[in-house]
């Protein structure tokens, strides 16, 4: 074995550094043993995936980064959280406080890192650069890549350290992210903790190459296998990769071969591995291994080492006492912190209402198409705030599949108007990571039909992180996409999938119908501190309408009554606004007075405007281009039922798309979605009462 003094010399480590590593590893071990015990006593509820055995990886890797660097963690993340939190705690008291908050979070207490919202699988400390653990295997690889992108765009020498397991290396996120990071030379160090099993399935039953690191060559980055039971080996390899990243040479993949002492989770009987194998790995336990080396080489005395190990037990005992004596979070706070606070004021709402009147009445106002309104919004916001940037497939030189980023590439360059590989999950996940680390990404997913490819990243990470992390982060990103029928491009390019997106708490959904709305709402969405799904309509890009010359934003959550009426209320959004207005015009000739409400934003929803209108007319028709079953109309109707039941004079009527995948053929496509005539029939039905 190499001489320890030589290793310390080469890695620039002091005795104190080594004692810190030993302490951190011992504390993780004691923490996990305590958690195992608390789980067994049902004091800790839920799932906990224990890190015992793998301590050298987290401790060695995190020792290799600076305090201003970023990490992302995994469902087996207590080790990362501790090594990172300990590094950021300057005093012994702060270190104890950090352990207290960690244990309290696992116990679901109000005093925990995330106020008991996340628990073991969603523990985070975003303020200090720990972007958190995730319950989705591979879920944080794109997020770390996005953090790397943010660092790269800010041109600092920080790095992002991305932990994940051998199981995650089989996901699409791994491939997409490593490719994107290598392509853009992002400062990300990918650390694979290969503990040989993806839950129960051995690595050699999941991969025909023996090492995850072997795959690095496919992405054009260095790959290295290290002994994950040797904290100094991990430290050395990660230090090398970090130095490379800081030099701007791009990402690395480091595979740490390691082993978990316990099963996948507390309930795992470990039938898939032998006790002999477990014993062999336990003989390589990283904690006594480091302690022994230090004593044997005279770096530390046995007494010093023993004292460290004993204190670790005490620290965890204190943390446990703190956690168990902490209050549970009050049930009254269950709905807190889902959304970041709104930035708009009542004055802004009123100003927009006045502006809207002007837009409607001022016949001399300039007219621009919808696509140009989008471009203007992006341009103005990019000029206003250097944190804003655009990324997506073909958004650069090409100007976007529908021309909504036209000209921006020339004006702002390839860095801020960034063409991506065809990697929807990582486009979205990178947006999440960049947003959590200070940028305001506007990521384009070319068709809303493709957003399910990115659903995990947008819904599980982007939408939920703020809440799961106790309100201690913001994800100010916009996913721009478009939907709808009209171009005969069939069921993978013509859907209206907004109902998928309104379902998740934590994300707003905006669907403008006019150039004026599109510009003002996009600007508001970019400035909003919440994730926003901004869904345009492919048949509206060419629609022209009045847009003021001056700067304006439209607060989210304010519906627009596009036409006033008294006999029946039509609630709709996006392109169907035009069909509703045509229907209203035709019916006006028969003396029927139709009120058309354009929701503009589905979430936040302007229920007040809907209810006020229904109270006036007593009849409600909903019109959507989305599939009838599970469409957003169902939600609106349920709300009206709750809020205005006594004002309904007839059953509410849905006018929605057929429950068929949107067909290609022109006649079939037209038959699949509401026409002006079907809106008229819907209105008549509401008036007849059946």
């Amino acid at each position: 074995m190499e001489d320890l003094a030589a290793i310390m010399e080469r890695q620039g480590l002091t005795k104190e550094d080594l004692l810190t590593m030993l302490r951190q590893m011992a504390e993780i071990r004691a923490f996990e043993e305590t958690v195992y015990d608390l789980l067994g006593r049902n004091v800790i509820k839920g799932a906990s995936h224990l890190y015992a055995g793998e301590e050298a990886v987290a401790v060695g890797a995190i020792a290799a980064i600076r305090e201003d660097d970023i990490i992302t963690s995994t469902h087996r993340g207590h080790g990362h959280c501790h090594a990172h939190g300990d590094k950021h705690a300057p005093t012994p008291e702060a270190k104890q406080e950090h352990l207290n908050k960690m244990m309290a979070e696992l116990c679901g207490r109000a005093t925990g890192y995330c106020k008991g919202r996340g628990g073991s699988m969603h523990i985070a400390d975003v303020a200090n650069g720990n972007l958190g653990a995730t319950g989705i295997v591979g879920g944080n690889i794109p997020v770390a890549t996005g953090a790397g992108l943010a660092i790269s765009m800010r041109k600092t020498d920080q790095v992002a350290l991305c932990f994940f397991g051998d199981g995650a290396s089989q996901t699409g996120n791994f491939h997409e992210s490593l490719n994107m990071a290598a392509l853009w030379k992002l400062p990300v160090v990918y650390v694979v903790e290969n503990n040989l099993y993806g839950m129960s399935v051995p690595f050699d039953k999941a991969s025909c190459v023996p090492n995850v690191a072997d795959r690095a060559v496919a992405y054009g980055m260095p790959g290295e296998v290290v002994d994950g039971m040797d904290v100094l080996a991990v430290h050395e390899a990660v230090s090398r990769a970090v130095a490379r990243a800081r030099r701007g040479e791009g990402p690395s993949l480091i595979e740490c071969k390691t082993y978990r002492w316990y099963g996948h989770s507390r309930s795992d009987p470990r039938v898939y591995r032998t006790r002999e194998e477990e014993k062999a790995w336990r003989e390589r336990d990283p904690i006594p291994r480091l302690a022994r080396r230090m004593v044997e080489t005279g770096v530390a005395t046995q007494e010093e080492v023993d004292a460290v190990l004993a204190k670790a037990q005490e620290a965890i005992a204190r943390a446990t006492e703190f956690a168990l004596s902490s209050p549970m979070p009050p049930a009254s706070e269950v709905a807190q912190d889902v959304y970041a606070p709104d930035f708009w004021t009542p004055e802004m709402v009123e100003a927009e209402r006045a502006l809207r009147r002007r837009v409607r009445e001022d016949k001399t106002m300039r007219q621009i198409p919808y696509w140009q309104a989008i471009v203007e919004a992006l341009r103005e916001e990019m000029k206003r705030d250097p944190a804003v940037f655009v990324m997506g497939e073909d958004v650069g030189l090409y100007g976007g599949a529908y021309g909504a980023t036209r000209g921006l590439f020339d004006e702002f360059g390839a860095e801020r108007v960034r063409d991506t590989p065809i990697s929807e999950a990582t486009i979205a996940g990178a947006a999440v990571g960049a947003a959590m680390t200070g940028l305001r990404p506007v990521a384009e997913i070319m068709y809303v039909d493709f957003t399910p490819l990115a659903m995990d990243q947008i819904a599980n990470q982007g939408a939920k992180n703020r809440y799961m992390f106790g309100g201690k982060t913001r994800v100010p990103m916009v996913i721009r996409t478009e939907g709808g029928t009209g171009r005969c491009i069939a069921a993978h390019h013509s859907q209206s999938l907004e109902a998928l997106w309104v379902h998740f708490p934590g994300i707003y959904v905006v669907m403008p119908s006019t150039p004026y709305d599109a510009k003002g709402l996009l600007k508001a969405s970019i400035r909003d501190d919440n994730p926003v799904m901004f869904i345009e309509h492919k048949m509206l890009y060419g629609v022209t309408g009045p847009v003021p010359e001056e700067e304006y934003v439209i607060p989210l959550g304010i519906a627009d009554i596009k036409r006033e009426g008294k006999d029946v209320t039509v609630v709709t959004y996006s392109r169907m606004v035009y069909r509703a207005l045509e229907a209203a015009e035709k019916l006006a000739g028969e003396g029927i007075s139709v009120e058309v409400i354009d929701l503009r934003t589905l979430k936040p929803l302007d229920l007040e405007t809907i209810v006020t209108s229904v109270k006036k007319t007593g009849r409600l028709v909903g019109v959507t281009e989305a599939y009838r079953t599970g469409s957003f109309l169902g939600e609106i109707f349920a709300l009206v039922n709750e809020e205005a039941f006594d004002y309904l004079d007839a059953p509410m009527v849905r006018v929605a798309a057929e429950d068929v995948p949107v067909p290609m053929s022109e006649t079939l496509e037209a038959a699949a979605v509401p026409s002006t005539q079907s809106v008229i029939e819907g209105i008549r039905k509401a008036l007849r009462g059946r």
């Binding site: 000739g589 028969e590 003396g591 029927i592 007593g618 039941f645 006594d646 004002y647 309904l648 004079d649 007839a650 008549r684 008036l687 007849r688 009462g689 059946r690």
Partner: protein
Amino acid sequence: MITEVILPQLGETMNEGTIVQWLVKEGDTVNKGDVLFQLESDKAVLDAEAPARGTVLKILHPKGSKVPVLTVVALIGEPGDDITPYLSGVAAAAAAPAAPEPPAAVAEAPAEVAAQGGRLFASPRARRVARERGIDLRTVRGSGPGGRIVEADVLAAAALEPRATPLARKVAEEAGVALTEVAGTGPGGRVVRADVEQRVRPAAPTPAAVPAAAPAPAGEMVPLAGVRARIAERMSRSAQETARVTLTTEVDATRLVEARTQLKDALSDTLGFAIGYNDLLIAICARALREHPNVNCRLEGDQIRLLDEVHIGLAVDTDRGLLVPVVRNADRLRVVEIAQRLRELVARAREGKSGPDELTGGTFTITNLGMYGVDAFTPIINLPECAILGVGRIRPEPAVLGGQIAIRQRLWLSLTFDHRLVDGAPAARFLQRIATLVEEPYLLLA
């Protein structure tokens, strides 16, 4: 351009339909889709909509007409359009056997549809508006699908009916005062109790409240309103429509009196009330009806419906007027159950709190005037039922029993039946069966 309004074919089996009601009149402007008239097929009452926008130039077939499907029944166009080509057809129609006035039952159809099965269909908005304005939805005719009451119906009813507090409404009803004749002094001209009481007490009339009346015969005017109006309408309809015959028979009620006395003595403490003759008579009539289903029937159009269930109504004199609570499925109830049910029904009827199906849906009615010393009378059939039993007083009389003169409890029974539905002999057999059960009430146990 003239657009023809035809009587639509609403089903493959529909050959003709009756125009129940015109909702527009000549000269009205209508929009395409407006409801023009209601028609009744053999199955239901349905709305017929305007096929075009324009002025109603001519209604060719009035309310009540029964016409073949696809007949032109009205014309829509511009004022001044020449409609003479259509008028010869009307002349022909007029020459044909005169279109009968619609029977009252048909005119009432929409309201009856609304209350079908005892449930009243009204939109939530209509219910709210009715609640706010103190309108009883049971008095409102629904114009919506299936007779559903919508807001417009309530507003129309409210326009006819003055706004009044519920208390004022109750006081007015009890006093038999029409609210239309009471000047409201409450908020927004609402009639309050004091207004009604003022109207009732003519002692201190304010000069303004006294109309400049034309000379009229002396006597207080009591408006024909509320329950009184309903009774008037139903009685006259029954008197006009039915072919009624009354059969009378005198029976020996001694054992009925004994049975009643024994039941009273045995059960009064437990029940908290005494079993009465009406309870026993309901049980007797229910049994007799079950055995004589040809009397348990009603007329529907040109068909007789033999009813599956036996529901017995009992005429009750209340402060609110004559009411007929109905004991449903009386043939399946024990006497005690009948007695309990009847008392609940009567109590609610007296308080004006009857449920919608508690005063309707009977298949036979009993009216008992014995307590007033009446011996026999000719009751009026409670439409749409087929028959009614009048019960006289029970009194001791000398009678021949086993060749001896004995003092027996005698009772006159009067059965009025509708000869259109049942003939004299079967009706007599039915009455005979009632007589037997009165004379030998223990047969109820059989």
